[in-house]
């Protein structure tokens, strides 16, 4: 047992040894240790290097507020966790931990030259220095800063662990399992309602474990706690969640909890979830987060071995570890005396308590005397000695000017306490400045939430228990025997005889911000704390300034000579403590990352080796390569086969909306730009949808199934937003219409057949529909049967060939497809994907919304003026079409482009200019929207949006591309069969 381990103390099991390594060196701790407590038990305080100056650092705290002792825990490839606080990491047998931010090693770090030159690294140093020469930024300055500034190495391997997420509900959620939280849970449990109590540590108890020297209702704190744990454990309506951090508090009492499940286990089952994120909706939230002790800002306060008084007390009482053999105490608050007395009672020598105050409470003075502890009242620590560990300190008496040195191997400090307002502030709860406490405390709640205990500014066990009980609706008053928690003072600046510029008094340990940095920021004109924060980076590290914000605020307030509450308070943001990205993702990784929708015909395409592309959430077959074919070859083959004989295409992803009601036609007239009243039952029409601004929003073919029923199709990707758009107008603008919308996208599988043999193929399978061209012309729809199942058969074409779109109920889709494919063999039926569909439509000049339009294209720009009714008095977008900018000359218009060199395929997105020899920057006329090689035309074709394009017909423009500029001729967009004769093949 090491000399720093105090047998019989702490809630650890000293009978069970735990072996681990830190920076390659073997250590032994005990079951229940954190990495920090185990290292301190081995006499090690040096655990990390600071962010900016690479100064040696040890733990300042004993919990999740820790700014200094950040470490890497390495559990193998992909399982390296960085920036973990050694004070929160539970050790397990075989654990491998490393310090970070140090090279070549923790004791000798080359980066510490920053420290030597720290005089030259004041606040804003980077902003001021690395401005010039500009060209140095990318290549020299930024890489250098990034390399130096890294807080832990970013992982590169894929995390093999599994993570979970879930939703939960309760009537009462209690955050924090200290005395206030436990009392609240005990009271709330009585109601029978669902109660969840969460605590970030291994077990609940909080200060009853950290500072157990009190009696509650006549029982020692430990006994009372054990009984409370038992009671809560037995209550069926209470869930106690340990190792669980409430990381964020959102609207309507929605609280995110991060539960760590396996990090403390030596050999977790492979595949067991490592963390779970619980999203809890609570009726009421009781925040019992406690308070965080404030460091004192004095010269040399960052040497390893200098830590918060409460941390020293926690290491002793929770982990049975002495933070040193000779532990000095420096305080401005009564509470540090409790720590000193606890340590003294564990036979740790307390050479001196230095108290900035002149008047010391009589009972504390008497207790110190009884223990033989010297008190230096009205004095301060002016400097510390020791580099990798404190070896002593200098006490300075500002009144007499006297100085003396005291040896020590640890120094406990206390600058008072800061109630934890983090979650309260997430919930937009109000706060107010309490001048006596020199801290912000909760004011008016914004949610059904209440704070209890120290986070409410109520210190001491009795106040916590009573406050917790009251927060849960109780009226119990606990009788507690305890030392009065007491009060303190706050000084804006501690007196010192050493010049300001020679001092290193740290405020933010993690980001290396000193008192003089904050004063400098104020001198340079940053008056608001939000600006001071960003200029100095105070509070911007991973600890969000848990130990530094209030000190920074005090210093800034003094420097600007304004009361604290006028300087402002920086914003608390989730997560409360650093959280893994994986925990935020939860289940939603891998195939659960997002929904991948597939059609009923998809398994067939997959079996045929289709190559896929995502369209919205859908996965669509892009092309069907045969052996040895690349996309280009496959698409050419599919195009030729379709134009020459017969192609089959899965169009099931097209959005379908059934518009039903006596006012269906009226609604269609309002929501589409073209007219619908004249469309007869059994007829189809191309529908063009504009948004309020008059731009093309979506398009699709619509069939009129009955007087009061339309079968609307939308683009694949546009289906959800088109449905919302329609429903929005129906519910807010056209409320007088009797019409309803039903999504039917997935009711129907759609098999598109295109090619001169399309009719011949389906003829034998169709019942109840006369397929002859005379009775079933282009742009008609019929209902009947195909292959024995119900069908809505559309005669439409997106390829320019004779085409049918066969709608069949989805669960029959694959069977019908397979039947037709089999029967199509005599016609060399060829399955094709979206790429061929794109080529075929481009040859016809049909647009794809979102490819040839970009949200700024009007119907006229796209050559679709014919689809805008001149007679209708109203439709969505109609008024906007008359706006001066939409009718102006010179707008970008959709034209065709034919490259002069017919071996050139223009790049989609390439810019277009009139004169390739003009000076840079050139005037860009527009860009290529679609570009393909067309076998039907024996040449490449393209569509483009070009300024004043309709007036440039037959003119030559230029498309600069990498390596060469290509001349192109402007044409119309109907490249192939402009008269549409191929539709009428018999």
């Amino acid at each position: 047992m090491s000399a720093f381990r105090k047998p019989g103390r702490g809630a650890v099991n000293t009978a069970v040894s735990v072996n681990f390594t830190f920076d390659g060196k073997k250590y032994t701790g005990v079951k229940g240790d954190t990495l920090a407590s185990a290292l301190i038990a081995n006499g090690v305080h040096l655990m990390g290097r600071s962010f900016k100056y690479h100064r040696p650092r040890g733990p300042v705290g004993a919990g999740s507020e820790e700014p200094n002792a950040l470490v890497v825990v390495d559990r193998g490839t992909g399982r390296e966790s960085v920036n973990l606080r050694a004070t929160s990491v539970e050790i397990f047998d075989g654990m491998v931990a490393r310090s970070q931010n140090s090279f070549p090693n923790l004791k000798f770090d080359i980066g510490a030259f920053n420290n030597t030159f720290s005089l030259f690294f004041p606040a804003g140093f980077y902003n001021k220095t690395f401005m010039w020469p500009k060209s140095f930024w990318d290549k020299v300055y930024e890489p250098f800063i990034r390399n130096m500034a890294g807080l832990g190495p970013a992982p590169t391997a894929v995390d093999p662990d599994s993570y979970a997420s879930s939703y939960g509900h309760c009537e009462v959620l209690i955050v924090g399992g200290g005395p206030a939280g436990i009392a609240a849970a005990l009271q709330a449990a009585k109601s029978g309602e669902r109660v969840i109590l969460v605590d970030e540590r291994v077990k609940i108890g909080g200060s009853l474990i950290d500072a157990p020297n009190c009696e509650i209702d006549g029982k020692p704190a430990a006994d009372w706690l054990a009984a409370a744990v038992k009671t809560l454990g037995k209550a069926a309506n209470v869930t106690v969640m340990n190792r669980t951090t409430a990381i964020g508090y959102y609207h309507d009492n929605f609280v995110a909890l991060n539960q760590r499940l396996t990090d403390h286990i030596a050999n977790p089952k492979d595949g067991a979830p490592r963390e779970e994120t619980h999203r809890i909706r609570a009726g009421k939230v009781i925040l019992a987060q406690g308070a965080i002790e404030r460091p004192l800002v004095f010269n040399g306060n960052d040497v390893p071995g200098v830590m918060l008084a409460g941390a020293g007390q926690t290491f002793l009482n929770r982990y049975g570890v002495a933070v040193g053999h000779e532990v000095a105490v420096f305080t401005s608050h009564d509470s540090a005396y409790q720590a000193a007395f606890d340590l003294a009672d564990a036979n740790i020598r307390i050479p001196v308590i230095i108290d900035v105050r002149d008047d010391i409470r009589a009972d504390l003075r008497a207790e110190a005397e009884r223990r033989g502890i010297d008190i230096a009242a009205g004095q301060v620590v002016s400097k510390t000695s020791g580099k990798l560990r404190i070896t002593g300190l200098e006490i300075y008496d500002p009144q007499s000017g006297a100085k003396r040195t005291v040896k020590c191997d640890a120094l406990l400090m206390s600058g008072g306490w800061t109630p934890s307002l983090h979650l309260w502030s997430h919930s937009k709860g109000g706060i107010k400045w309490d001048a006596d406490m020199a801290a912000y405390v909760p004011d008016v709640a914004n949610e059904n939430a209440v704070c209890a205990g120290a986070c409410n500014g109520d210190f001491g066990i009795a106040a916590a228990l009573t406050g917790g009980n009251k927060a849960a609706g109780g009226r119990k008053s606990y009788s507690v025997t305890e030392r009065d928690f007491g009060t303190g003072v706050t000084l804006d600046s501690l007196p010192n005889y050493i010049k300001d510029t020679k001092q290193k008094a740290f405020v933010d340990f993690q980001n290396d911000v000193t008192e003089k940095d904050i004063k400098l920021a104020v001198r340079e004109g940053f008056k608001s704390i939000e600006h001071v924060k960003r200029y100095t980076t105070n509070g911007m590290a991973t600890d969000q300034g848990k130990t530094s914000n209030l000190n920074a605020l005090q210093i800034a307030s003094k420097a600007v000579d304004k009361p604290v509450e006028k300087v402002g308070l920086t914003t608390f943001r989730p997560p409360y403590t650093p959280t893994t990205f994986a925990a935020l993702i939860g289940h939603c990784e891998g195939k659960l990352f997002d929904v991948k929708r597939v059609t009923p015909i998809d398994p067939w395409a997959r079996e045929r080796g289709a190559v896929y592309e995502p369209v919205g959430n859908w996965m669509r077959a892009r092309y069907f390569p045969q052996e040895g074919e690349d996309m280009h070859a496959a698409v050419r083959r599919e195009c030729v086969a379709t134009r020459e004989s017969l192609g089959i295409f899965d169009a099931s992803t097209l959005g379908k909306i059934e518009v039903v009601g006596p006012d269906a036609a009226k609604f269609m007239n309002l929501i589409y730009s073209n007219p619908w009243s004249s469309l007869k039952v059994g007829g189809c029409r191309y529908g063009l949808m504009l948004n309020e601004a008059g731009f093309i929003y979506d398009d699709g073919v619509v069939g009129r199934m009955a007087e009061d029923r339309f079968h609307v199709t939308t683009t694949t990707g546009g289906a959800p937003r088109v449905f919302r758009h329609m429903e929005d107008y129906l519910q807010t603008e056209f409320t007088d219409l009797d019409v309803w919308l039903t999504s039917a996208t997935e009711q129907w599988s759609v098999i598109a057949l295109n090619g001169p043999n399309a009719r011949k193929l389906i003829e034998p399978f169709v019942d109840g529909i006369d397929l002859s061209p005379e009775s079933f012309g282009h742009m008609q729809v019929r209902t009947g049967k195909i292959c024995g199942v119900e069908t809505r058969l559309f005669r439409v074409s997106f390829s320019g060939e004779l085409g049918f779109e066969i709608n069949v109920p989805s669960h029959f889709g694959r069977a019908v497809w397979e039947t037709l494919f089999e029967a199509g063999q005599p016609y060399d039926i060829t399955p094709y994907g979206t790429e061929t569909m794109h080529v075929l439509r481009a040859e016809k000049g049909f647009i794809i919304v979102g490819q040839d339009t970009d949200g700024t294209v009007t119907p006229h720009d796209a050559g679709l003026s014919w689809a805008v009714s001149k007679k209708k008095k109203d439709f969505v977008g109609r008024r906007s079409l008359k706006r001066s900018d939409l009718v102006a000359q010179g707008r970008k218009q959709l034209v065709g482009l034919l490259p002069e060199d017919d071996s050139v395929l223009l790049e989609e997105g390439a810019q277009i200019v009139a004169d390739p020899n003009q000076a840079l920057p050139m005037t860009m006329l527009g860009h290529v929207t679609s570009s393909y090689y067309s076998d039907a035309l024996g040449r490449p074709i393209a569509m483009a949006l070009v300024a004043d394009g309709f007036n440039l017909n037959d003119q030559t423009l230029y498309v600069p591309m990498p390596g060469k500029t290509h001349a192109v001729k402007v044409t119309g967009t109907a490249f192939y069969d402009p008269k549409g004769e191929r539709l009428n093949v018999v």
Binding site: A164, H169, A272, H587, K591, L592, V595, D738, F812, A815
Partner: protein, 184 residues
């Protein structure tokens, strides 16, 4: 023609804690009516249309859920296909309404077992305790990335209707929760 719902359920989704099963063929209609016609339409059609949003009427072979203002989802066994089609045709003739057949739009699953609610809560944000979501309650809700319709038929028995293409996602999500449970 082969009726093919094209989804398989792994054995890991079948234990004493939670079981996911796929229902067979169903006939489905989405029915919308004007408020003033509801009472008369109920009477003439014989359909037990629940009055309140979230209400269901669950009878042998036919479940009706009220999903929104004057919006019902009717889910029936295939044997009532003709009868239901007739009822819908008559309603459409007699009232200003919308009856759209969506039989093939959805797949139906049942999720049963003492761990059913917990498994669903991995992705569904509703409070699925029996107090908050009693037997007979049904609603349109979300299952993380998938819209679903969910109703409770017993303390440990839920029915989920999901659009066909979202079904594999729902299944895979529940499989992940089952795997986590087996590992933990």
């Amino acid at each position: 023609m082969l009726f093919n719902q094209a989804i398989e359920i792994d054995e890991s989704l079948n234990d004493d804690v939670m079981r996911l099963s796929l229902s067979g063929e169903r006939v489905r209609y989405s029915l919308r009516l004007k408020p003033a016609d509801v009472a008369a339409a109920k009477k003439s059609s014989g359909l037990k249309l629940p009055a309140k949003i979230g209400g269901t009427s669950i009878a042998a072979g036919q479940t009706i859920l009220c999903l929104g203002p004057q919006e019902w989802l009717i889910v029936a066994l295939p044997k009532s296909r003709e009868k239901l089609a007739g009822t819908m045709a008559k309603l459409s003739a007699d009232y200003i309404c919308s009856a759209v057949e969506v039989s093939h739009r959805n797949l139906q699953f049942t999720v049963t077992g003492p761990g059913a609610a917990r498994a669903l809560n991995a992705a569904c944000p509703l409070d699925l305790s029996v107090d908050a979501f009693p037997v007979g309650k049904g609603t349109r809700t979300i299952f993380e990335g998938a819209p679903i319709v969910l109703w409770r038929t017993a303390e440990h028995e839920f029915t989920v209707e999901v659009w066909r293409s979202f079904a594999p996602y729902l299944r895979d999500f529940l499989a992940k929760t089952a795997k986590d449970r087996h590992m933990a």
